[in-house]
Amino acid sequence: MNWLPPNGALDGVRLDQLLRWNLAVVFWLFVAAQALLVAALLWRLRPGAARAATGNSGRPGKAFFAGEALVLLAITGLYIAMDVTGHQLWAARREAGPAEHPVQVEVTGVQFEWYFRYPGSDGVYGRIRPALVSAPNGNPLGLDPTDPHSADDIVSSVLMLPAGRPVDLRLRSQDVIHGFFIPGMRLKQDAIPGMIGHLQFTPTVPGDYVILCSQVCGLGHARMQARLRVVSELEYDRWIAGREKSLVADASGARP
């Protein structure tokens, strides 16, 4: 039975394989150890147990320690294998740094919403001033209108990404610690106020994925959800162009 949600990320395939291998190893170790516990309870009922109890001196021999050392060595070998394979994946995902020309999106956690900001055609995120934050006035992130870079920034409540291109997320939070979690992308990192985090991945399978909050953040924690839509490159470009056009329309409409 497969309990993991469907995977849509490039690294997710490797992670799932690694996780399954790890789970299999510890499951069989678990079964073996529990079987030994049951066997110990039955062992005392064996014929001749009473005689054995009074017979030998009770001091463990060399074979006892050699046996235990061998098993411990084998288990330690398994732990090392787990650590090394786990580290290889971690190094590939987190120590490599961003790919060239990634899709850049900034993720902001706010009690109890996720906002996604695209830097727009200039490729630069506009400046943010916390004093300007006002969701009722349509500026939930506090974009500074005096910064020319902010004019083309697209703010969205849906994370739209093209399939097959590496993504570099910039993680931040406006209030408390939130946990940015996309189970379908096997992706999780905390958004910590006062810090900028980065998270790289490559979505491969088009479709809709749920985005959750994995760090308790307030009474609305369980409903702090958003959607990731992985679409074709063509559809993504069309979406970006549409959002930019409406930005221009808004700007010309808002300023008399």
């Binding site: 510890v26 150890a33 288990i75 189970p183 985090g197």
Partner: protein
Amino acid sequence: MSFLRRRVFTTNHRQLAILYLFLGLAAVTTGTLLSLLIRLHRTWPALALPIYGILKPEDYLALVTMHGTLMVFFVLTVVPQSAFPNLVLPAQIGATRMAFPRLNAAAFWITLASFLTLLTAFFVPQGAPISGWTSYPPFSALAATGPGQGAGMDLWLVAITLFCLAAVAGAVNFLVTILRMRCPGMTFRRLPLTVWSWLVSSGLTVIAFSALLAAAGMLLADRHFGTSFFLPSGEVLNGILQRPGTGSPMLWLHLFWFFGHPEVYISILPGMGLTSSLLANFTRREVPAYGLMVASTLLIGVLGLGVWGHHMFVSGMNPYAGTAFGLTTIAIAVPSSAEVLTWLAMMFRGRLQVATPLLFTMGFVSFFIAGGLTGPILAQPALDAYLHNTFFVVAHFHLVMAMAGVFSVFAGIYYWYPLLTGRRMNEMLGQIHFWVSLVAAYGTFFPMHLAGLAGEPRHYAQLSGPVAHFANLIPVERGITWSAFLLAAAQIVFLINIFWSARRGLPAGTNPWRATTLEWSPIVHPIVRSGAYVYGPKASPEQDFLPQWAAEEPTARSS
């Protein structure tokens, strides 16, 4: 009046142990009732409770926060690290009293004050805090982040501050007692492994709880005295810009987990020592490789101080730090595995004498393995990045810390009960208690792994909603809830047994388990000439064990 002086306002360690045990009982009862409310709400969120009505999401989070705090501090720390050493530590080293009896008594009263302060949080406006037992700032630093984060959070912090003071005071007393109060002949090579465990766990307590004490004080200062240890600038809450700060929440994460991880070993090491002792006692064989067990205990203590970062793999900490903490965490699995292998091997030597304390010890080993084995998975940052803060982790620590910890507490209570009452607890009730608890505990916590693999996060007041695939987990959740109720019901058998056996239990005599360690000694001022676990057919001319208080020289090699 004399009753009060003898039983309550006392500096006698054994009376204090009884007071601690009753405090633990009050805490575990409250914590369990809260957990049942948690389970009810997860399974039937629309259920209206009598008088209170339907639980709101913030009520659910308050229940989780208080459940965690009560269980971690007032059950899993108070019983193995405060009640048990008061019960038997002086006797096990041949002392008649603690090194600092008044400090020891003060520790109890401060712990009680901490407990009452914590419970008061339920009754202040807006109720108990909702930020979980780890209380990450800024959530815990600013009252405007949610209900319960005002007065409730203040009370939580005061309670934790008091608890830290008491824990450090108690641990200093235990350390000095072990180092200075040993009777003639009680060398370090002859110490029972429980005493070695308390030596290490008390050392950890002094270090870890000091860090938490500092952190709690700093958070209180951030809340009330205008400091910003944990507050960055640019905080916006409900559209309102907060005062600028220069701190970082990451500092709290480091301080908290520098406490939080050793805390796991503080609550589990005494159980590990007890397991070694009881397996020797109930197989009538010595602990093989005593030196190796001592070394493992010390190694776990030392390594335990260097693994806290594995709670922070997804915090955005430098990825190389993740690699390093992953390595130290895998390393600590090795001495832990060595102890487990020794316990498993011990069960096949001599002949197991099945009695309730032994069964609970075997239960401890079973849960320690079940919960411990997922440790090397969670120790890998790459895999933890998916599993962190899901129910997989909830399953992991409830098995390895909570269930293993509680089962070793039960083993200790069934084993040492004759010391307090002169009677044994009823064997049949004990075995019913054990088997039902074992099955129900696995039924409760094992399926949580599956919910975690499905990606279900902790602290969710409601599962139904936009995430369609969590709705598939509702049958699993329902099974967990039924198991949790069965687990709680099984404890009624235990409570009946405790009170019934105090009057009606079989008279135990002086050494009912034919044990070697000094808490069973009829002699007040013993001189020790043998190791802690001299069992076996040739242990002494007349019997299959040589008590540490025996006047004769040991025949077998057994220093």
